[in-house]
């Protein structure tokens, strides 16, 4: 009855993502809803047949940004806990590149938080996808993360 939220789980992995472990992590007895998002490698991109993908990340910063997203979900939505895993390295068609699980007492918050998490991840987490086709490879078009308009100067060294 006294909900103790699970700590959020944020991972970058090089093996297939274990959905079950992430769902188990977020699911607690006071939850009424778990929403998951599973982003999979499609067999085509802009009309060309994809052979496979490679993901790379600025790993330390990506983990920080993913943790920030998880933390922001708690302030924006009445959720219980969050698990987010992104895979790196080579991925075959149909494999999961990103998996997000959100638990909440009620479904509305779980849906909205999961949607917000993937939308924000795609805009702000430094991860890059290279698409391999029959006739070559390209870095996927992406989104330029928003950047502060002006940054205060650091304190002068004393």
């Amino acid at each position: 009855m006294a909900p103790t939220p699970n700590p959020d789980l944020v991972l970058l992995v090089r093996e297939p993502i274990s959905f079950e472990a992430l769902v188990r992590h977020v699911r607690q007895p006071h939850d009424g809803a778990v929403v998951t998002f599973d982003g999979c490698v499609r067999n085509h991109s802009l009309g060309r047949a994809t052979l496979y993908l490679e993901y790379e990340a600025y790993e330390s910063m990506a983990l920080e940004k993913m943790r920030e997203i998880a933390a922001s979900l708690h302030t924006l939505f009445a959720i219980d806990s969050v698990a987010v895993a992104h895979r790196l390295g080579r991925l075959e068609i149909g494999e999961t590149s990103v998996f997000i699980a959100v638990s909440a007492p009620h479904r509305k918050a779980a849906f909205e938080a999961a949607r917000h998490a993937i939308d924000t991840l795609k805009k702000t987490v430094p991860i890059w996808k290279k698409e391999f086709f029959e006739d070559g490879a390209v870095w996927a078009d992406g989104e330029l993360p928003p950047v502060p308009a002006a940054t205060p100067a650091p304190k002068p060294a004393s």
Partner: protein, 81 residues
Amino acid sequence: MQIQVLFFGKLRDVYQTNEASLELPPKSSVEDLFQLCAARHPEFASYRSSVVASRNREFVSWNALLESGDEVAFLPPVSGG
């Protein structure tokens, strides 16, 4: 001062390395660092409007000033997910 610079995605292909340690005068900005990179690899300059920068793993503006030991990365449009 010494700045650690990281290159990702397309920019790594252009700069032909993951990372570099570059020497800059005190009070240099992120912009100054970018221009130093562009001086070494002229193709780099053409990415100025299509990348963002981070300093110590936080997104920053181009006028942000650097301190010795900072870790700066130039980041092309992200495409995770």
